[in-house]
Symmetry: C2
Subunit: 444 residues, 2 copies
């Protein structure tokens, strides 16, 4: 025996049946909604060629990429040529650029799949976690942006999450804000990062960061006044009149808000001029979806019209969004456990001579879609019944020399401790109707 640490690698998890079942149930509900919107599934490999992923995620992101060592003789060079998927968007952009004939003029796809990031593990922060993305490529119509948000909110609703609200902004609004505050272009992205932290560090924190960036004190005062004013949104709307690109962004945001509000009249849909959504590939409208149960966004996305162009000669406008599925699973975990798929029947084994009989009875039950386990351990019938009881299996089938002689089978209901003797060929019929009653489907 080797002396090894047997826990899964840092930031990863082993999932037992109950968790797998919950995750599958959630994934399948979400996929059904996405398909009802006309999104179709795509699967890409777990790893990509390293150069496909480099220079796509910014300096901070790049450090978190898991790189795969070259194989064979080249392994000793210590060089990497492949890397684990860091998100689902860059592989999508590669696919759109690689197969124009398959992705067509407009390509709507969903992908639910794990990604890997060498982030510092923490609460709800994993190194292996699922992303759940929808994207629409090939159109710059804002209808596409609206469809993405509508599909995500329908998926949330299908999962029983109803108290969500939207925050909408546009990268163009952010550019406009930088113009009207006269932030030098080389500082713009740092300033945006600072503004994006309002939820986390509060106004004094933002102010401190801005001063550290050597933004003049009067400008910082203006910014924090704007951010803290009760009519911050209107204040910014006024200021943006001075910026052409800011105006264009505002028009985008207002159009999407009006489309989304038309379909979801009760939804809380806000223009929030200070959300920035990281700083990677977004070019236009961006959004976050929140629920009162979670401090962080449970879904987000935006328009990225230039990403596919990094792989293709053709510009392909695109937008998309992502459900924070691990965060959502954590919200559901407490309230929405699925019924465990334990076997419904334990077929006991009288002794070695009755092994084949046990298999035959189990095969009969399984052919009727009754899940049946044959007892595989050692021990007498008492021990076998205890095994079933511990596993919460409701029925035990008993078949020994007496039953064989009479052509019968005994069926024990462990929940009621009652026992029925059934003609052997009828045991399937009997258990079928018993299980229906147990499930509440049949008459009592």
């Amino acid at each position: 025996m080797q002396n090894l640490d047997l826990s899964p690698p840092s930031g990863t998890r082993d999932f037992f049946a109950e968790d797998v079942k919950l995750r599958e149930k959630v994934f399948s509900a979400v996929k059904e909604v996405f398909e009802s919107f006309g999104f179709l599934p795509l699967e890409t490999p777990a790893f990509e060629k390293l150069d496909i992923l480099t220079s796509k995620y910014g300096d901070e992101g790049e450090k978190l990429i898991f790189k795969i060592l070259k194989r064979g003789e080249k392994a000793s060079t210590g060089e990497a040529d492949l890397a684990l998927r860091y998100d689902l968007t860059v592989p999508l952009a590669r696919v759109i650029a690689q197969y124009p004939e398959k992705t067509g003029a407009i390509f709507k796809r969903y992908q639910l799949a794990p990604v890997w990031r060498a982030d510092r593990p923490g609460k709800l922060r994993y190194r292996e976690f699922y992303q759940c993305d929808i994207d629409i490529a090939g159109t710059s119509s804002l209808l596409a942006d609206a469809e993405v948000v509508l599909a995500l909110s329908e998926a949330l609703r299908a999962l029983g999450i109803k108290d969500f609200f939207f925050r909408y902004n546009s990268r163009k609004v952010l550019k406009g804000i930088m113009q009207v505050y006269k932030v030098p272009q080389n500082l713009a992205s740092d300033v945006l990062t600072a503004l994006d932290k309002l939820d986390k560090v509060g106004l004094p924190g933002v102010s401190k960061e801005l001063l550290e960036l050597e933004i003049p004190a009067d400008v910082v005062g203006q910014i924090t006044d704007d951010m803290s004013s009760p009519g911050a949104e209107n204040q910014i709307r006024k200021r943006l009149r001075e910026s052409e690109i800011g105006q264009a962004g505002l028009t985008e945001v207002d159009q999407i808000l009006s489309l989304v509000s038309a379909v979801l009249p009760d939804a809380r849909v806000l223009f929030d001029p200070f959300i920035a959504r990281g700083l990677s590939y977004y070019t236009g409208p961006i959004f976050e979806i929140f629920t009162s149960q979670s401090k962080s966004a449970i879904a987000s996305g935006g328009r990225y019209d230039e990403l596919v162009g990094m792989f293709s000669k053709k510009d392909v406008p695109a937008c998309g969004g992502s459900l924070g599925i691990e965060r959502i699973l954590a919200l559901l975990r407490e309230t929405d456990r699925p019924t465990m798929s334990i076997p419904q029947v334990l077929v006991t084994v009288w002794n070695d001579e009755f092994k084949a009989d046990a298999l035959l009875i189990a095969a009969d039950l399984r052919s009727r879609k009754i899940s049946a386990e044959v007892y595989l351990g050692a021990g007498n019938i008492g021990r076998q019944l205890r095994y079933a009881s511990n596993k919460n299996i409701p029925y035990c089938v008993l078949y020994g020399p007496d039953e064989k002689l009479k052509g019968e089978v005994a069926v024990k209901n462990l929940r009621t401790a009652s026992q029925n003797v059934i003609v052997r060929k009828d045991v399937g019929d009997f258990l079928e109707s018993e299980i229906k009653i147990l499930r509440g489907e049949g008459a009592k």
Copy 2:
């Protein structure tokens, strides 16, 4: 634009909707069968700590492991500390050793998941491919071995594969054969590898390899005579009388054959003394399942009573089997394409002022589980109808100023080229019944 090779990495694949749907359909049929046998799902991370995987797969296997470079400052060392999952059995053994309280006395699990091997890519040989495993840990009862084979054959049957047959052997039989042929112990594993190649290289090929291993010519003659004799099985049965471990292996095989035959009286179940199943962790009965459509085995497995012991102080006997799911998918691909899940309705967009109306009509349809796509491109209604026709979408909804005025919606059936005008609030009802008729569910 970067100048990059945009194909997926060598040996991996991008799957579009049609393939994803076929794979999901097959996976879900297989899982249903496994659950009916009382197997439950387990998911483990895509990568394991490197030392969990080393020394488990033999020298050849070890070379094919994808290793992951250390992160952060340690990246420059060129060292690896993690590795992609090479199979599903070693992670299972880790899980059994790590969580005895969760895996219990007897643990039956299935896992359908990708594994990664840096093999030379070829026809049906991929670097990323799915494995589909069932295993039973915690019992040395041969009933468990029989259950594994029965569950795999039930899964094959559920996929429509019915002409399969079984080849059974035992590692103990192979040890016995080495004894009776007086093969020196240090050559035993090479000799077994040579015998295992009978299907691939034929009798002369086996003979040549054995002579190269410096097995005496008279012994090679004896072996090849045995292998080629019409009653090879009986010849070996006779010879094994001289070997205690060989006898024990034969008894095991005969017991499993008799259990499997009891449940599958029509199945072709053979004792094949020359199958060896690679040379890794098997200790007892081993098997392969073949179909006439494929030269190689489509399922295989065996008993490995010592693997968990490599991680745990406690010996945990175990056996399992695996469907060659990629091979099986290739067999199905031609005959069993699932119906594509294309949207059922295209909601056209008259002009910019009708965007919100289009979204509202789509939302109504989607709430009735009708999959509806809103047209997101540019272009007049003629172009929108052509788009639907190209995508094979059967219905188009038209809603312009005339319809708005009258409170109506026009529904065009592209298959019959007929058009109906419906009161707007009834369009959902109308399309619901139309789609039922299209699917053959409703009355004409």
